[in-house]
């Protein structure tokens, strides 16, 4: 059985350790294993959000030339962690679109470890966080390119919008590269709402809450831009925005 982590463990540095303890060590052993055969394509969309701590651990094995897509919106009002370990075979692709959104005191995090240990695999991860109150949003993204991972193309993009003083966001990109012909891009930015954009929108007649909703919608839509099923993208966006509207 896996021992309970502490914040000294890199992958749990910003986690809500008390909530993890509540879930118990058993929960840590529970990995959902998903294997994609060569050439297969699979897409999974999920909204994670309840009022109890949640831990979702997924292990993806993506076969030669296969494509795995995961789009996840993390909205829970207690600790939520979605963790994805991906192993990419030759020419495989992993696409992640993630959103963490919410207020209160909760920590919501997306944690990925993507292994490129075969040639010409690609991965693209776009995560957006929107938080208020005393909430925290985290994205910890490790990319491991092994010696065999030549011509890897991996990208990570994290942006957070902190709506109020007291809320926070943490980004922790971690790149470990042992091949020499590799493209790995990562970017992280944490900022506040664009006040000039809000004023501009107000000057055209949009009430502050409507302007804010439009701006936040545009902000998180980046994470779902690669989701080709428009209906699903809309469902996920609405799930995220619903949390914003419930905000007290």
């Amino acid at each position: 059985m896996t021992a309970l982590p502490t914040t000294r463990d890199e992958g749990w540095r910003y986690a809500d350790i008390d909530a993890v303890a509540k879930l118990g060590a058993d929960a840590l052993d529970h990995w959902k294993e998903v294997s994609l055969a060569a050439g297969e394509s699979q897409r999974h969309c999920m909204v994670v959000g309840s009022d109890a701590p949640e831990l979702h651990r997924i292990r993806l094995s993506v076969g030669k030339g296969a494509r795995a897509e995961l789009f996840v919106v993390v909205t829970g009002s207690d600790y939520c962690r979605v963790e994805v370990e991906t192993d990419l075979a030759e020419g495989a692709h992993f696409e992640l679109g993630g959103v963490t959104i919410g207020g209160g005191h909760a920590v919501r995090e997306i944690v990925t470890r993507t292994t490129h240990d075969a040639p010409e695999a690609t991965s693209n991860q776009v995560v957006r966080a929107v938080h208020w109150g005393e909430a925290t949003g985290n994205f910890l993204g490790a990319i491991n390119v092994g010696r065999l991972g030549q011509r890897t193309d991996a990208a990570q993009d994290f942006k957070a919008l902190v709506l109020e003083k007291g809320a926070s966001a943490n980004a922790k990109p971690e790149l470990e590269i042992f091949a020499d012909d590799v493209k790995c891009a990562h970017g992280a930015a944490i900022g506040q709402m664009d006040e000039m954009a809000r004023y501009y929108m107000a000057s055209r007649g949009l009430a502050p809450d409507v302007a804010k909703r439009l701006l936040i919608r545009a902000f998180i839509a980046d994470a779902l831009a690669a989701l080709e099923d428009e209906e699903e993208a809309e469902r996920l966006l609405e799930a995220a925005l619903e949390v914003l509207e419930k905000r007290t």
Binding site: Y199, A202, G205, A207, L215, A218, F219, D222
Partner: protein, 248 residues
């Protein structure tokens, strides 16, 4: 229609407007000219309710209502429009979506039914045609990737769609080439020249006034209107410069 009396306003504790008075009646176009730093844009922003611009004394009455007591979006709904000197870019929000939300927000607050998607597109197409702005640009995110001239024409398309009673246009002519200036001038006339509308044009140049004939021209210097005259005053300024005209 718009009556400004003894207006004093400051930014970060620094007084910019120092007792400005001005009245624009329905059916009139007034131009405000003045040297850099005179307070022209401050006047525009104070009237538009931009946060951070504090009125310390005086009043501004718009169609009998206390303009300064209204929120920016309420001013818009009451029929007040501010054309920005530097229109703001809003990534991820399309012009069409933004303007439809804005127009319908305004209509809602006036107790009118919202326009349907089809009705709105017809209106947008008509106004874009008037300003010779490609309809495709209206489908793109607000002002993102627009040239300076396109941004200004987009301001006028917005004005056309929102159809305000009164417009303050802050240097709408700057950044326009000669042909675009003519299009914008004619657009302002088509949208705003009416017995029950008024316009306050803030400009540095006589050229725009060749197309949009003002009824009165005011010189703003050091936070106050120091001279008022007819259209000739603008030509005189162009010939002689501020120092000479103000000394006369």
């Amino acid at each position: 229609m718009l009556k400004i009396e003894n207006l004093h306003a400051e930014i970060d504790g620094k007084e910019i407007l120092k007792g400005l008075s001005l009245e624009v009646n329905a059916g009139e176009v007034h131009a405000i000219m003045g040297p850099n730093g005179a307070g022209k844009s401050t006047l525009a922003y104070v009237l538009g309710g931009r946060p951070g611009y504090e009125v310390t004394q005086g009043s501004a009455t718009f169609m009998g209502q206390d303009l300064l007591a209204m929120e920016p979006h309420e001013r818009a709904a009451a029929g007040f429009f501010l054309g920005f000197q530097y229109p703001v870019e809003i990534p991820g929000v399309s012009n069409v979506q933004f303007l439809r939300e804005a127009l319908n927000s305004q209509r809602k607050s006036r107790g009118q039914e919202p326009l349907s998607g089809g009705e709105f597109l017809k209106l947008a197409k008509e106004k874009a045609g008037l300003l010779r702005l490609d309809m495709e640009m209206l489908k793109r995110p607000v002002n993102v990737g627009f040239s300076g001239g396109e941004k200004k024409r987009n301001e006028m398309v917005q004005m056309g769609i929102l159809d305000p009673s009164f417009a303050v246009l802050d240097e709408t002519d700057s950044g326009l080439d000669i042909d675009a200036l003519k299009v914008v001038g004619e657009g302002i006339n088509a949208i705003m020249r009416s017995q029950n509308k008024g316009v306050l044009l803030i400009t540095h140049y006589q050229r725009l006034l060749d197309y949009v004939q003002p009824d009165k021209v005011h010189i703003l210097a050091a936070g106050r209107i120091v001279k008022t005259g007819g259209p000739d005053l603008a030509r005189q300024l162009e010939d002689e410069g501020y120092d000479e005209v103000m000394a006369a």
